[in-house]
């Protein structure tokens, strides 16, 4: 009985068959695992408007505070002239949460020393873009902050 092992075309076929099966097996394992590792999209809070739990008179001139804007922090600032302004508090450099510095009258990020003026514009340090500005409405006892200022 002649063994077919030495038949090159048959050997090539068997090797190709084995190779593709191994490849298909790996793919069948790796695809679900890689999809599993990617987190599903979280329900991005669509809230374009929030009513703050802060009363307008509690925000003194030349101070600022952090508030929740959906799942992200925002910063509410009352300028020395008494005007209320709100921005995203997420630094445009590397995502730290900024704070208001009364000593320079600017918004400042502690992580890499980034400075923003009271229009949210990046004026010093590494931040590449201005902070996103929000519209602020003080309605009587309430402060309402909304996107798209």
């Amino acid at each position: 009985m002649a063994y077919a092992i030495d038949d090159p075309s048959r050997r090539r076929f068997v090797n190709w068959f084995l190779g593709t099966s191994a490849g298909a097996f790996l793919l069948a394992v790796l695809y679900p695992v890689s999809r599993y590792l990617v987190p599903p999209p979280s329900g991005e809070s669509a809230a374009g408007t929030v009513t703050l739990a802060i009363k307008p008179e509690d925000v003194k001139p030349n101070t600022g505070q952090i508030f929740k804007f959906g799942s992200r922090p925002g910063i509410l600032v009352r300028t020395a002239a008494g005007e209320l302004r709100a921005f995203s508090a997420v630094c445009t450099h590397l995502n730290c949460t900024v704070q208001y510095r009364p000593d320079f009258g600017q918004i400042w990020c502690a992580c890499h020393n980034g400075h923003f003026d009271l229009n949210g514009k990046n004026v010093e340090g590494p931040p590449p873009r201005p902070l996103e500005a929000f519209a602020v409405n003080a309605r009587g006892n309430q402060i309402v902050v909304s996107k798209g200022a």
Partner: protein, 364 residues
């Protein structure tokens, strides 16, 4: 020679089943070269010893730690305040981590400056650089686990930096964070990476690294070899091993003292709706990169500064990895002043930027 005669019945019983004589032969064969740079041989073993401490204390910490945003901080607080010697175990884990990174750096730079990465030890060097990456990964993921304020912002910044990688950045950032933001999902992910993925990879790479060190023997620096003359050696077992153990005991005593007098802090619980605290800084071994990012302007040649920074560090790491391939002179056994001075420049850069990171503060 009849080695069987020199041992007891238990030894002989085991030898017939698992081949102890072969292991004994290997242990006796290993020699440590003696020359003016022999001191640097101690740092690899020291790093391995500290890693063993990390495994032991890490397992102990697992018995109390709870990996969720709601419970992590409280579980560490409980461990520190209520569990007997909880403060000791956690403080030793924190201090030994720092010490391990330090001895790893010393080990790596001694290998770099002495040029002992030359053929055939390239893969030993590659696995060593990869182990350094894993050690930094351990530091980065472990830092977040107590879920305190400093760790929260350090992780925000660290994962945001991966977002600056061209093309795949935002995908990588989401993958690392387990979502778009640093949340409890990030904590769970980092926990899995810290206690399962990294230990597994490290065990495999340490195995390879040690196997290669055994296979090629301890490397003699080219400068010593060029000096000529007969090379003296010392048996690894027991002469060198006993000296190693003196160092390990001293390190353990130092760790206990550090843990007792400067226990690991916990700080305040992470709160996503609080500003980043003033004076925020990363672990010291990330400081030179952190400080570099501070100095980079917002835009360089039309590209965001942090993208330039990340690409720079990425290329720097790649260069470090490929040194055995790039340094042709050392490979031929000739002196290589260029790569020696590159090594010195790297050390000086890291030292200066780290120093500035702790002292130069433009805004308090």
């Amino acid at each position: 020679m009849e080695p069987v005669e020199t041992h007891g019945a238990v030894w002989r019983w085991l030898d017939r089943r698992i081949g102890l004589a072969d292991l004994e032969y290997l242990a006796r064969k290993k020699q440590v070269p003696l020359h003016r740079h022999t001191i640097w041989y101690y740092f690899g073993g020291m790093t391995l010893f500290l890693f063993a401490i990390q495994v032991a204390t890490g397992i102990l910490l697992l018995f109390y730690y709870r990996p969720s945003a709601e419970e992590a901080y409280e579980s560490v607080q409980f461990l520190m305040a209520e569990v007997e010697f909880g403060w000791l175990i956690r403080s030793i884990h924190a201090w030994a981590a720092n010490m391990m990174i330090f001895t790893l750096f010393v080990h790596m730079f001694s290998v770099l400056l002495l040029g002992v990465y030359r053929p055939p030890r390239e893969i030993t060097w590659f696995s060593g650089v990869a182990l350094m990456g894993l050690a930094m990964g351990f530091g980065f993921t472990g830092y977040l686990l107590p879920w305190n304020e400093l760790a929260y912002f350090a992780t925000k910044v660290g994962t945001e930096i991966t977002g600056a990688v061209p093309l795949v950045g935002s995908f990588l950032r989401r993958l690392l964070r387990g979502g778009d933001e640093v949340t409890g999902a990030t904590l769970t992910r980092f926990y899995g990476i810290h206690v399962a993925v990294l230990p597994l990879l490290t065990a495999a790479l340490v195995g390879l690294h040690l196997f290669l060190v055994q296979k090629h023997g301890m490397s003699v620096p080219p400068s010593v070899e060029r000096g000529g003359g007969p090379l003296r050696t010392m048996p690894f077992v027991p002469n060198f091993l006993l000296r190693d153990m003196v160092g390990w005991l001293a390190a353990l005593a130092g760790l206990a003292a550090l843990a007792a007098f400067l226990p690991a802090e916990l700080g305040r619980k992470a709160d996503p709706f609080v500003s980043a605290p003033i004076g925020i800084k990363p672990e010291w071994y990330f400081m030179f990169m952190f400080q570099t990012l501070k100095y980079l302007p917002a835009r360089i040649l039309g590209i965001d500064g942090e993208v330039v920074g990340v690409l720079g560090f990425g290329l720097g790491g790649l260069f470090l990895l490929l040194i055995p391939v790039l340094d042709r002179r050392t490979a031929r056994g000739e002196p290589s002043r260029l790569f020696f001075w590159i090594g010195i420049a790297l050390i000086v850069y890291m030292l200066v930027l780290t120093y500035l990171g702790y002292t130069a503060s433009t805004t308090k």
